[in-house]
Symmetry: C2
Subunit: 294 residues, 2 copies
């Protein structure tokens, strides 16, 4: 196996993403040792048992002290106090990154709090699961996944290259993007589907005959709402930290649904056919372009 | 193999659903012979080649003449003229059913046009695919699927039992439901997700940076929009024939999205968390109840 790229990787938060990262770092020998911390009772123990970390820390301070790589793997909102808590214990030269779903606010917090000599590069692996927690963690989650990196605007090119190398070692595809552009794009392709999937589920259950309807429901509802089974805290944090891009996306989406509602009420055959034709063509072109199947 | 339940089954429309039915009837020996017709050039030939029919007919009349079971497997709107076209050729005693996604209008057309001695029982197998056409047809599509039956209000109990037996032979689960209740339920658990999935895809492509966003998109968007790759004509026909239940469902859904939009803009942490908590709990309870995985 190739030599490790970092000596001591510290992971803060050992749920689906943090746990998967620990498993991947260890499986690929990318870190000489992995230490992990989780604020929830029993999670670090479970991560140790699952082989996601070599060692568990009893505090944030103990986790990051001496680490040359620190990864924030909590829901996004929790990262802000975590950054403040860990800052005094970071060594000069430490590279800090995160796995959060939104980047603009995270980058701002990091810029506000970054201690001298520490480099922060935002990160977002484009993968996940409707399952959550260390029980669902797997190194395979990163295989073939695009992993966005949002460096600070000034400097850090060699550090970004090092982090990209580590990400490649895990089987993922590093891609440097600008944080604002990332959040705008995610608002459409990830955060809006998440909000809508949960709203679809609630639209079903709001009906008086919901139990009957659900007893008939099949793969269409199951797939359309899959992401609504993910972590509610993660989803809420996405809404709280990407509010402006997400409300803009919702405005476009709601206006489209209102148009469709009018077309359905009017029996507007050509408009409805054009709607479904256009959506299908767009989806087929997208998936054909990436060779990702249906 | 058990003896056939019908002698000559005629299938009108040999796409995904009609083709799959032909394959299933033949695989399970449920019909002594299967004859099929499709108005599109080359489709009946492809169905014959795929083993979905024993024989292909050159006209609707030729297809239904002498059949003791006739199955309408076209998109819903096409069933109305088809019923008129085939009526003169149906023998007394023939059982007619369909595989359409909506039932109230289909039942009304059947009641208007039903020739003397012919029994019409609406049907809707709760299965499908984002693929369409005879190429995607498979007998396995019916395995374990609920298959709704909507008999005419008067009489036909023994005919319904016969049809239920045939459906069971194909590995599906027949369930007698009232047509209006079926359409109301489908509006929520099937038709709304279809409209919304297509609208999500169009919300993404409406953005100026859509190509970039789609290059980052992952499983969330893919699954949430899966049904948008299905047949546009089928989707349009659903909108045209279940308009009142579907617009009612859209009204509830749009109101919910407007609430969420306001909560996101206001950073309403507890309301947003409650939204995602409720949706997840509802989805988990639904899937736990049917043992259908995530």
């Amino acid at each position: 196996m190739a030599p490790p790229l970092v000596q001591r990787a510290a992971i803060l938060g050992l749920g689906l993403m943090g746990g998967s990262l620990g498993l991947a770092l260890r499986e690929h020998g990318a870190a000489a040792s992995v230490i992990g911390y989780d604020a929830a009772v029993g999670v670090a123990e479970a991560a140790l048992g699952a082989g996601a970390v070599d060692e568990m820390a009893r505090s944030v301070a103990a986790c990051v002290t001496g680490a040359d790589l620190v990864v924030l793997a909590t829901p996004v909102v929790a990262m802000r106090p975590l950054m403040a808590e860990m800052a005094p214990y970071l060594s000069s030269g430490t590279l800090v990154t995160d796995l959060g779903s939104t980047k603009v606010e995270v980058m701002q917090w990091a810029a506000d709090m970054r201690p001298r000599g520490v480099t922060f590069i935002g990160g977002h692996p484009m993968c996940g699961s409707e399952r959550s927690g260390i029980e669902a963690a797997t190194a395979a989650i990163f295989h073939g996944a695009v992993w966005c990196l949002t460096p600070q605007p000034t400097g850090g090119d060699t550090r970004t290259a090092s982090l990209a190398l580590l990400i490649q070692r895990l089987g993922a595809l590093p891609r440097v993007v600008e944080a604002a552009r990332h959040d705008q794009a995610m608002a459409r392709v990830s955060h809006l589907p998440l909000v809508v999937a949960a709203a679809l589920m609630r639209t079903v259950t709001a009906h008086e005959d919901a139990a009957f309807a659900l007893s008939l429901a099949a793969g269409g509802l199951r797939d359309t709402t899959r992401v609504a089974s993910g972590s509610p805290i993660m989803a809420r944090d996405i809404c709280l930290t990407n509010a402006s891009a997400l409300t803009a996306a919702l405005d476009v989406h709601i206006a489209l649904l209102q148009d469709l509602r009018a077309q359905i009420a009017a029996g507007d055959d050509p408009a409805l056919l054009a709607h479904f034709d256009e959506a299908r063509a767009a989806r087929v072109a997208w998936l054909d372009g990436r060779g990702a199947g249906s």
